[in-house]
Amino acid sequence: MRDLIARFVFGFTMLIAPLTLAQEPSAEPDLAAAEVYKDAAEERAAKFVGVSGPEAESVPGGALMLGDYAIVWVLLFLFLMRMRGLQRHTAEELERLSAEIRASGGS
């Protein structure tokens, strides 16, 4: 009985194995063809995907550094200009006040 079962299993395996192996290569070309077709269809789709990450483009470090130092000096200059404007405005206001005091007869 055991011998019969062993022969049955062996025979079944020998029958199934070639069928299984035969199906595998036939499945691959079909899948690949479908992928190619799908990719082509996706490429034609109305969608643009931008590159991202540091490797995607070359970032000019020198230009960024120069821009950085320029920002510092420009902002400092603008601050000094603002202070100058404030002092000028205060001086004008003082002159107006002096003129008003003189006109009103004050000392």
Binding site: G62, D68, F79, H89, T90, L97, I101
Partner: protein, 232 residues
């Protein structure tokens, strides 16, 4: 007596100005000639020598504003209010420098201009608090209520300063930590460049706060004179 004090003050001012200018010249030489180019980031790393001291000067400005505000709330002396305004403006200037120079480095190092890293976010928050302070103070001639409310806002902004500083250590983030205990440190020439830059920026912050506070006191005095003249 007052004239002599003004003359002495002017001399100190001039000394700090010349020392700061000389220090900036030496600092720039050290940054671009003595300090080596960083191995991985390249020349863009040299942004670091102005970016970090700017953040430090921002701390000085905002801290001065908060201290001036606190003393003003206690004593109601306009001199301290002028100091608070000056500190907030100078702090805001350096905050802008930090927030604009950081992204230029980040674009090269991280591949993005901005990320919601804890240190970046808390710095932006401080900038927004003091922008609110300055907006409140710029609405014409601020009255006593506006001044007191703004002083409270400056004290609220002070709470954010330790958060900025310790955010790198407390929370996960991508911001470098080279000058803290966790970092790998700097080469000796890099330390020199950074140290000199720190001193130069401290001098610059002191000069700007001093000049701005003086201008603010004069403006307040002029406004007071006009008010007295109108009600005479």
């Amino acid at each position: 007596m007052s004239g002599a004090r003004q003359s002495g003050s002017s001399t100190v001012w001039s000394l700090i100005l010349f020392a700061t200018l000389a220090l900036f010249a030496v600092t720039l030489y050290t940054i671009f000639v003595v300090a080596p180019v960083e191995q991985k980031m390249g020349i863009v790393q040299k942004i670091f020598y102005f970016h970090v001291p700017s953040a430090y000067a921002m701390y000085i400005g905002f801290a001065v504003s908060a201290v001036g505000s606190a003393v003003y709330l206690l004593r109601r002396d306009p001199k301290w209010d002028a100091l608070a305004v000056a500190g907030a403006e100078v702090g805001m200037l350096f905050c802008l420098i930090v927030l604009l120079t950081g992204p230029l480095w980040a674009r090269k190092a991280w591949g993005v201009w901005w990320t919601w890293d804890p240190r970046l976010t808390t710095t932006l928050l401080a900038g927004m608090i003091f922008a609110a302070y300055l907006s409140l103070r710029s609405m014409g001639n601020a009255g006593e209520v506006e001044k007191r409310f703004a002083a409270g806002l400056a004290l609220f902004g002070l709470v954010d300063l330790p958060l900025i500083h310790y955010s790198v250590q407390r929370w996960r983030g991508v911001h470098p930590t080279v000058i803290t205990g966790k970092g790998g440190g700097l080469e000796s020439e890099m330390y020199w460049a950074l140290g000199l830059s720190f001193i130069a920026f401290t001098g610059l912050a002191v000069l700007l706060i001093w000049a701005r506070a003086s201008a603010e006191r004069q403006r307040e005095e002029t406004a007071r004179l006009r008010f007295e003249l109108m009600h005479r």
